[in-house]
């Protein structure tokens, strides 16, 4: 029987390098020593755990989303899978028989602008190239290199500028024009609904809470 042709997908590389066990997430207070393959994961684990906490504790359904029930059930899987390899296995060439034209059309190049309060420039990121909040925020950290991402026990994710000692909270504007906290909804729903990202100064973001974001024009 001829072997299935393996593709060059990054998924297959990741599978061989890291086992599921290694990257499996558990609930726990940030900072607890956990088994992780590289020190790098440890520093970020706090954020991921807080994102995890956000999703597990939220009970209200996403506004205007039709697969609400299903998605909430799956949200745990989606988030806990954030550090796992993406949910697709080694691909066989040309199967399923979907034309590349169609694949490309569906792969909407999901470029969104990223703005940082106080910074003079905008950057753009392609959300489709990331598989999790962790990956996205790591990239944002690299882009705006003076900032650090840190989580805290309140379950909010913050970006901290150690130079100016100001905290920034990653927020995004969704399809309906509302500003939400990044990490609020399952990753897949986020990339579908996110139109732009803003690293907002914490002082302004106080009014922002999961599911009940006011317009960003309101000040504290």
């Amino acid at each position: 029987m001829p072997p299935d042709t393996l593709s060059d997908s990054p998924e297959s590389d990741v599978t061989s390098a890291v086992t599921f066990k290694d990257t499996e997430l558990t609930l726990g207070i940030p900072g607890e020593p956990t088994r992780s393959p590289a020190g790098k994961f440890c520093t970020k684990r706090g954020f991921i755990e807080t994102v995890d906490l956000n999703l597990r504790t939220s009970t209200s359904k996403p506004r205007g989303k039709t697969h609400a029930d299903e998605v909430d059930d799956k949200s745990d899987d989606v988030v806990s899978g954030a550090c796992k390899t993406p949910a697709s296995k080694t691909q066989v060439v040309g199967w399923p028989p979907v034309r590349s034209y169609r694949k490309k059309a569906l792969e909407s190049c999901k470029y969104v602008k990223v703005a940082v309060d106080g910074a003079p420039y905008l950057r753009k990121v392609d959300l489709e190239t990331y598989n999790s909040y962790q990956e996205l925020l790591m990239t944002l950290e690299k882009m705006f290199t003076c900032f650090k991402i840190r989580g805290n026990y309140l379950g909010e994710s913050k970006v901290i500028d150690p130079m100016k000692e100001m905290e920034y909270v990653p927020t995004y504007e969704d399809k309906d024009g509302d500003w939400m906290l990044v990490g609020d909804v399952p990753w897949k729903m986020f990339i579908e609904s996110c139109k732009r990202i803003r690293l907002m100064k914490s002082s302004e973001a106080v009014g922002l809470a999961p599911r009940t974001p006011p317009r960003c024009t309101t000040t504290t």
């Binding site: 039709t66 697969h67 949910a87 059309a105 579908e192 139109k195």
Partner: protein
């Protein structure tokens, strides 16, 4: 008037009679009656369809049919759509255009599918044929907006420019956007399909073009044309029958109301497509025209979910054709079955073809509902993750009028999810009950038994696609020996080898083509077949290097066999071998 020996009619009269006969099959039959009829027919044939561009050469075509006005050519095999044919394999149209430019000065229509067409050829077309009217490039590649600019600038009588799903390179032109190359006094456009273009379109040029072409019926825009501009275009062309929208991810109430106003003036609009990245709120703009719609293509509308789809299709009582993503789910298909009694064709595409877990509630039940509720349904393409023999049997019994049935169960070799058996019986029921079935694509767990059914019952079958199925050569033998009308057979990842192929060699000359990849056909068998059958080109496509550097018993990667009257082709790339290579090797 010239009198033919033994004929009661003068030539001119026969020619006039023949002008009423259009179908190729009928014309071919007429041409075999006698020598004079052959001559009259060949001089008066205006429309030629070449299903495989390598089956015949331009010279042979021109010699037989000296006055062709409409030429249609197809190039790469169908599996090229799924990246199974390596880049550079062939299907170059340049030699055809070059030959036609001198032989057919009155050529009006060129239709190409899966061919490579360079800008030079487009320019040659635009300058060689004074009465050129129709250019359709379906899944083609090799050209850029430069070539399109030449067509726009020079084809004064152009009616139709359709770039369906082609790959077009966008070159920023200093001479202005290619659309602006249509002269100001050009007004004959009837159909424009630029949906595949990735780049921005000059809106001013587009608007002026649309405004000055009163016969425009079809306008398929690309993603880059935002919805707020669409209303402007619709105001200029309220006579449109077919429309493809661009994208619109921001829901703006003013745009929506403009759109509603524009749509309400389009009394002839029957076909809609596009909808990339469309905010679901915009769908309400479409509601007024839903009752008139006969064709709806939402297969790129990744932002529209089940409930909105249900609301939409429930208002399309006259819908005949629906292409949609699996976001429609079983519930949506039930609504479709209840509302759209005139439905003839349904295609359901996967939103996440490479996901392991199902992301939508779409099962075999959706297809069963539609087969029950839509008596005219005869053409189906359906991607799903589970299937049962029961469901297939039900579908077969509900719809004996099925002519095209393509089922893709996403995971290869998936069994009947209820019984865990193969799906042999289910597909067997399809071929047994659907006596007019012309096209079939199989998937799921299948043994040789299913091919026995197909060979027994699939007497009208013309095209069969097989993947990850069968147990032995017997499977292939059943197909080749049983399916009398088989024209195209494409197989991948099946344990079919030399025996069935060699035993049915003669059958291959009655077919257009056979594709086999990742099967068990040896190089030795390919050589033998090539030697035995001079009217076939047996192409071994192998990117591992020369097949004779491996034992003859080694299976080839890919095999493409097609009948031809023009011998082995001369434009093969390095990874393709045919019998001429072998005789060359034999000499050295």
């Amino acid at each position: 008037m010239k009198m033919m020996m033994g004929s009661s009619f003068p030539e001119e009269v026969l020619e006039h009679v023949f002008s009423f006969i259009e179908r190729d099959k009928d014309r071919n039959a007429i041409s075999t009656v006698c020598q004079s009829w052959y001559e009259i027919e060949r001089w008066s044939r205006r429309r030629v369809f070449v299903g495989n561009c390598y089956a015949v050469s331009p010279a042979i075509l021109i010699k037989r049919f000296p006055d062709v006005r409409c030429l249609e050519l197809k190039g790469k095999p169908h599996f090229a759509d799924f990246n199974l044919v390596p880049e550079g394999w062939g299907a170059y149209v340049a030699p055809w255009i070059a030959a036609a430019s001198s032989a057919y000065p009155w050529l009006e229509e060129i239709r190409l599918k899966r061919m490579v067409i360079p800008d030079d050829s487009l320019e040659l077309i635009s300058k060689s044929f004074k009465n050129f009217k129709v250019l359709v490039l379906s899944s083609c590649e090799g050209f850029s907006t430069e070539g399109l600019a030449a067509i726009a600038a020079n084809c004064r009588n152009l009616r139709e420019l359709d770039l369906r799903e082609s790959e077009v390179e966008d070159l920023n032109q200093s001479s202005g956007h290619w659309l602006s190359h249509f002269p100001d006094n050009y007004t004959s456009l009837v159909s424009l399909n630029i949906a595949c273009l990735n780049s921005e379109v000059s809106f001013t040029a587009l608007e002026r073009l649309v405004g000055r072409c009163p016969n425009l019926r079809t306008l398929r825009l690309n993603r880059a044309v935002p919805l707020d501009r669409l209303a402007i275009l619709l105001h200029r062309a309220p006579q449109l029958v077919e429309l493809g929208t661009g994208e619109a991810s921001d829901l703006r109430p003013d745009v929506l109301s403009n759109l509603l106003g524009a749509f309400s003036r389009c009394k002839e609009l029957k076909s809609l497509s596009g909808f990339w990245d469309v905010a679901p709120g915009y769908l309400t703009g479409v509601y007024p025209i839903c009752p008139r719609l006969t064709s709806l293509n939402l297969s790129y509308a990744a932002t529209i979910q089940s409930s909105d789809l249900i609301k939409l299709v429930s208002q399309c009582q006259n819908l005949q054709k629906l292409w949609v993503l699996d976001y429609i789910e079983d519930l949506g298909l039930e609504a479709l079955a209840a509302s759209c009694k005139d439905l003839r064709e349904l295609r359901v595409f996967p939103s996440e073809p490479f996901g392991v877990e199902p992301n939508v509630l779409l099962t075999e039940q959706g297809l069963v509902s539609v087969s029950e509720g839509c008596p005219k349904l005869h053409s189906v393409l359906y991607f799903c993750r589970q299937m049962s023999n029961d469901a297939l049997r039900t579908i077969a019994r509900n719809r004996p009028n099925m002519t095209r049935f393509r089922l893709c169960i996403i995971e290869p070799r998936t069994p009947d999810y209820l019984t865990l058996e193969s799906l042999d019986m289910g597909f067997g029921a399809i071929v047994e009950h659907c006596n007019d079935l012309r096209r079939l694509s199989l998937s799921g767990l299948l043994t040789d038994r299913v091919f026995e059914y197909i060979g027994t019952y699939g007497k009208k079958l013309e095209m069969l696609s097989v993947a990850f199925a069968g147990d032995s050569d017997l499977g292939l033998h059943h197909i080749l020996s049983g399916c009398e009308n088989l024209r195209k057979l494409e197989i991948r990842d099946c344990p079919f080898g030399d025996k069935a192929l060699l035993a049915n060699a003669a059958k291959l000359e009655t077919m257009r083509s056979l594709w086999m990849s990742s099967c068990s056909v040896s190089f030795g068998a390919c050589k033998l077949l090539g030697q035995k059958m001079p009217m076939l080109n047996v192409e071994v496509i192998d990117e591992r290097g020369p097949p004779d550097s491996r034992p003859e018993s080694c299976p080839v990667e890919k095999l493409y066999i097609y009948r031809t009257v023009s011998g082995p082709r001369l434009d093969m790339p390095g990874f393709v071998w045919t019998k001429d290579e072998d005789s060359a090797l034999g000499l050295s």
